[in-house]
Amino acid sequence: MRSQPRSAAADALTRTAGWAAVFVVLAVSGWLVGSVLGHGLQEVSWSFLTSEPLDAGRNGGIGTVLVSTALVLSVCLGIAVPLGVGAAVWLSEFARPSSRPVALIRRSLDLLASVPSIVFGLFGMVVFCQELRLGFSIAAGGLTLACMILPLVVQTTFAGLRSVPDELRLGAAALAISRSTALRHLLLPAALHGVVVGVMLGLGRAAAETAALIFTSGYVTRMPESLLDSGRTVSVHIYDLAMNVPGGEARAYASAAVLLCLLLIVNVAAAVLADRWLRHQTARVS
């Protein structure tokens, strides 16, 4: 970056290296995702998606597990997104960049991001399950995951907001537009990709998490009746089948394939909705 290559050469180099990188990334991801889908999809059927696991998961389906997963993720995102986006907005738009609280909060979030997820699990177990008497429950699992993905949401949203040029802020201020309006109509739309990416990264991470959930939302495969019931999520199910249940491999692949397909649907939906909302925002008749 610091060297100043001649433009054409830089262009060619960047292009070559870039395509090579894209090729590597796509090939390896394709390999991984392909092998999961290839092994898994043949086992997937409607009854697999709707029924309860039987024989430690070797038979039956993952219906109840999917419900628990959806509930845990809702609790998690319902807490982490408002909190994280709010914190990022404050850090970026309201606080002085060099002030101590900002440095402190950002530093501590960096620290939080590197806490091993199993430690989050033990933390959640002691604080949410035991001290707060939530027991092994979907609520406790969601709260634990929310703590875990918070740094991700904050940092990506923050980075997105910081990439918005300051002219926009000055322009809005010069028109005496309040900061709440500027945020809602100008800054957040401009930073929308950052926010969406933050949420998507958080969602993916939460959906993929195992260690933190074994200790909090638990291992129970019964259909949850409330947020205070224990419920096994798909990734815990996959972990158990792959690492703990002899002969569970086929069903582990099938569950992983389902998880990937659901994530794909959510991600595509989010991307399309974000694009459409942006267009709508630009064109909306006042």
């Binding site: 027991g135 300051d166 200790f215 690492m243």
Partner: protein, 315 residues
């Protein structure tokens, strides 16, 4: 300039300490609210169980109406079995909820001691100090530990002495045992695992004597490692090894000292590298816990136990 402009602020000065204090206060408030709601929810789990203490004479009989919630935590080896037993128990007693949680034998023991769980699950025998603290182990099933190698390995059996030599590094090349000329890859289990303790006890080894090349955690981890490495030798739970070998995973169970490692040999006691699978209670269990324990130990459970690759205890 961009850097310095980067935080627009209308004279709102962020005061570090008031901020932190405010944050703490809110955190406490949130925790308090959750705490209260948590308390409100509690009676329908614990208190009912306690109510069941009154109908204690109903031990084991399925005719009497049992209700309430039972929490079991512990060994990830026992948990799948416990889940299946719990499911069957729930169908017989529709008002009962049995929640099984994993996290390891130590956790099961700790949770049974602290009362976090009504019953604990352990895949090893209780230690002396644990018994002194009032824990009682109820044997649910028995599990053997078998030595496995890759399916490509030409060896057909080993003696105890050879196992010891292999694992302590006295034999480092397969050719010394008539195999191909390549280094042995020793797959050991992680510190604290019941399988490791059983293995060490049986062969009279100490963990630091073992010259491991790879350390694994769960049984499946060990099986996949050996399956993926021609030169590997390891040891895993016998039920897991056999069911994986039957499914076509390229591993082979090696008889040690000529004793075929069948679950029958484990059950009869001919095969000695075994460990008990326990349900742990603090003191003698009462009420719902006792009913569940009796149910779990009853012969009707033997099909479930075998389906998970373990051997039932015949008393």
């Amino acid at each position: 300039m961009i850097e310095s402009l980067s935080n627009p602020l209308l004279s709102a000065n962020a005061q570090g300490w008031s901020l932190c204090r405010g944050g703490c206060a809110v955190m406490c408030a949130v925790l308090a609210v959750t705490f209260l709601s948590g308390c409100g929810a509690e009676p329908d789990s614990q208190a009912v169980v306690r109510d069941n203490g009154d109908i204690e004479p109903a031990r084991g009989s399925g005719n009497l109406k049992l209700s309430g919630k039972l929490v079991l935590t512990g060994s990830s080896t026992v948990a799948p079995l416990a889940v299946e037993i719990a499911k069957r128990f729930e169908t017989e007693h529709p008002d009962v909820r049995v929640d099984v949680q994993t996290g390891g034998s130590s956790r099961g023991i700790a949770d049974a001691l602290s009362g976090v769980a009504d019953l604990g699950l352990a895949s090893r025998a209780l230690k002396k100090d644990e018994v002194e603290q009032g824990l009682v182990g109820h044997q649910l099933a028995i599990d053997g530990v078998s030595v496995i190698v890759n399916a490509d390995n030409p060896l057909s059996s080993l003696t105890s002495g050879q196992v010891v030599q292999l694992f302590t590094g006295a034999i480092t090349n397969w050719s010394e045992l008539g195999g191909e000329d390549a280094d042995v890859v020793i797959v050991n289990k992680a510190e604290g695992r019941a399988t490791l303790e059983v293995f060490l006890n049986h062969f009279g080894l100490k963990n630091e004597q073992i010259t491991a090349d790879v350390v694994v955690g769960d049984n499946q981890h060990g099986i996949k490692t050996v399956a993926g490495n021609r030169l590997a030798i390891g040891y895993v739970s016998i039920g897991a090894a056999q069911s994986e070998a039957d499914l076509g995973t390229p591993i082979r169970v090696l008889p040690v000292d000529g004793i075929e490692l069948t679950t029958e040999n484990v059950a009869s006691g001919a095969f000695k590298i075994t460990r008990p699978l326990l349900i742990v209670s603090k003191g003698e269990p009462t009420g719902l816990a006792a009913a569940f324990l009796d149910y779990a130990k009853s012969p009707q459970m033997h099909d479930l136990i075998r389906a998970q690759g373990f051997e039932a205890v015949t008393q």
